[in-house]
């Protein structure tokens, strides 16, 4: 019984703050964090959508996440395919290298990328943000695809080859459909990770701002709090939907979705 109470308490601790954000997004209060909110309104949603800076940040976040995810899906799948079933010198080092961008604190990845960009006189742009994001997104795709490959039967591939299919056909008709949901799940996690990333972005973004960067600046110097609350709800929605979808796609191997963040 005490164990049950501790569990419920712990889960409340994890979830109540998220509900509070949603509650505040509908608050009629304009200036402060007063609790309880004096009244409720949906008008801040309209105000937030009208704001040019919010729309620009949202668009940039979506574009970066799409391109970074695409790059991570290609690179992560290649790495998973290479590590699966082949033993070679440096295999352990490669798995370490893949985890490193996520295992080391984000500030180290960020400052390292920034100082390298400075050293090579590369100006900050859309692409520098994408490079930063793809670097730490590769591992989630890799983890998901590798987990799926490990549970698949190599005999299928051999059978396809025996029946006369070449390597490309085998990949297209046998391997790809087999790993499709894991690949999609990895891609969705990568998308959510990129859409939400703030630390590495602050170092590689220059003047542009993604939605999390916009939020960070609002947290440090608040301008219109109700708009920030609405954007916060929006960020939760955009990150949670792909996560839930990824969980659903890999529900038979539940460790795949949580691993490697």
């Amino acid at each position: 019984m005490p164990l049950r109470i501790a569990t419920i308490g712990g889960l409340l601790f994890l979830h109540v703050p998220l509900f509070i954000i949603i509650l505040y997004a509908f608050s009629a209060e304009e200036r402060s964090f007063v609790f309880p909110p004096p009244g409720f309104t949906t008008r801040w949603f309209a105000v937030a959508l009208e704001r040019e800076d919010v729309r620009r940040a949202l668009l940039l976040s979506l574009q970066v996440a799409v391109v970074a995810t695409a790059a991570a899906m290609v690179l992560g799948t290649l790495a998973a395919a290479a590590v699966w079933r082949t033993r070679f010198f440096g295999r352990e080092a490669i798995s370490l290298l893949l985890i490193l961008p996520i295992a080391l604190p984000g500030i180290i990845t960020g400052i390292a990328l920034r100082s390298a960009l400075n050293l090579m006189d590369i100006p900050f742009s859309f692409w520098t943000i994408v490079i930063g994001h793809a670097t730490f997104c590769i591992v989630v795709v890799y983890n998901n695809v590798l987990a799926r490959l490990r549970r698949s039967a190599p005999a299928l591939i051999e059978a396809s080859m025996d029946l006369g299919a070449n390597g490309f056909q085998t990949f297209r008709y046998i391997v790809l459909p087999h790993i499709a949901t894991a690949l999609l799940a990895g891609g969705m996690l990568a998308f959510a990770l990129s859409f939400d990333e703030v630390i590495v972005t602050t170092f590689t973004a220059g003047q542009q701002s993604t939605l999390p960067i916009w939020m960070l600046s609002e947290l440090i110097r608040p301008r219109q709090r109700p708009v920030t609350n609405v954007v916060a709800v929006f960020v939760i929605a955009v990150t949670l939907i792909p996560i839930l979808a990824a969980f659903y796609l890999t529900r038979d191997t539940h460790e795949a979705a949580g691993g490697g963040r």
């Binding site: 703050p17 402060s32 007063v34 290479a82 290298l97 793809a134 080859m161 949670l240 839930l244």
Partner: protein
């Protein structure tokens, strides 16, 4: 006699690759390795290199000579305080996370039905993946002077308790959102799932037969817990502590938004590379958490924590 059609180019490439698996492996590995090896490791190396340069105090420019001068600066009183403050916070957050996470993980593995377990797993995972910044923001709303905690304290006539907690020197402050207590709470909240999941993984691997054997041999449930389950779950706790400790060492956003103005390592690095323009010292600063984490990972590996990751 039938003649075979000439193989298509694609077919020929495929056959060639099949016969030379080394080349195939190389082609598969080259793009991810070039990306991570050149862009990522290259950047880390460039950073490390710059930590050996130093700032010319008079000109304010970076001198590109190798020296250990910058590392010497790490040992000044002010910088040492920053390391100490961050390390103490990381240690306290790690211990608290282990204490809060263990019962949840234990309940999930030992008592919950299969269906509840899947639900609980999702309930722990969702906050882990949902927006970091939004969750920090939520705590700003909760801990602010006019926020929820103050309201609850007033409603329950416990305002005096809140005031006396805030009056404690060092960890107190003008409000929870401007104190180390607030910083600690948010760190604990944000990293908690990183502690729960590895402990669950470790507990899952404790064989039920071992627990039964312990009971059969006459051990009290408490004794079984202390002498069988706890030692076997320890690698999970160590694995979780890798995350909680490392993430606290490097984070600069949480103490920047919730806490007082005394900086943590991450904030010092951020200010040094940004406003101060002292990249060498910023780089030397980052070497400290990397070194601490390398030692930590080595010890954790010996404790078998990697199997619980």
């Amino acid at each position: 006699m039938t003649t075979l059609a000439a193989p298509s180019p694609l077919q020929r490439i495929s056959t060639a690759l099949y016969l030379r698996p080394r080349i195939l492996l190389f082609l598969l590995l080259a793009p991810p390795l070039i990306w991570l090896g050149v862009i990522y490791l290259g950047s880390l190396f460039a950073l490390l290199l710059q930590s050996f340069f130093y700032i010319d105090e008079f000109a304010g420019t970076i001198v590109h000579d190798f020296s250990l001068r910058t590392y010497g600066e790490l040992f000044t009183r002010a910088n040492f305080d920053i390391f100490l403050r961050t390390a103490v916070m990381a240690a306290v957050v790690t211990v608290a996370a282990a204490i809060v996470a263990f019962p949840i993980a234990y309940y999930m593995v030992r008592y919950a039905s299969l269906k509840t377990k899947a639900l609980l797993y999702l309930a722990v995972m969702l906050p882990l993946w949902s927006s970091y910044l939004v969750r920090v923001y939520a705590w700003k709303l909760i801990l602010a002077k006019e926020g929820i905690v103050t309201w609850i304290a007033e409603q329950t006539h416990l305002a005096w308790l809140l005031d006396s907690i805030l009056a404690i020197p060092v960890i107190g402050g003008p409000s929870l959102s401007i104190s180390y207590i607030g910083t600690f709470l948010v760190f604990l909240y944000i990293w908690l799932p990183f502690m729960i999941l590895p402990i669950v993984a470790a507990l899952e691997r404790v064989p039920a037969s071992l627990v039964e054997a312990s009971a059969d041999l006459g051990a009290h449930p408490g004794a079984t817990f202390r002498r069988v389950i706890l030692p076997l779950a320890l690698p999970g706790v160590v694995a979780g502590s890798i995350f909680t400790f490392s993430l606290t060492l490097g984070d600069y956003i949480i103490p920047g938004i919730i806490g007082n103005s005394r900086p943590f390592i991450g904030q010092a690095v951020y200010q040094l590379q940004g406003t101060a323009g002292n990249i060498p010292l910023a780089a030397a600063f980052t070497v400290v958490p990397i070194a601490v984490m390398s030692v930590y990972l080595m010890i954790a590996k010996r404790a078998g924590a990697f199997d619980a990751l």
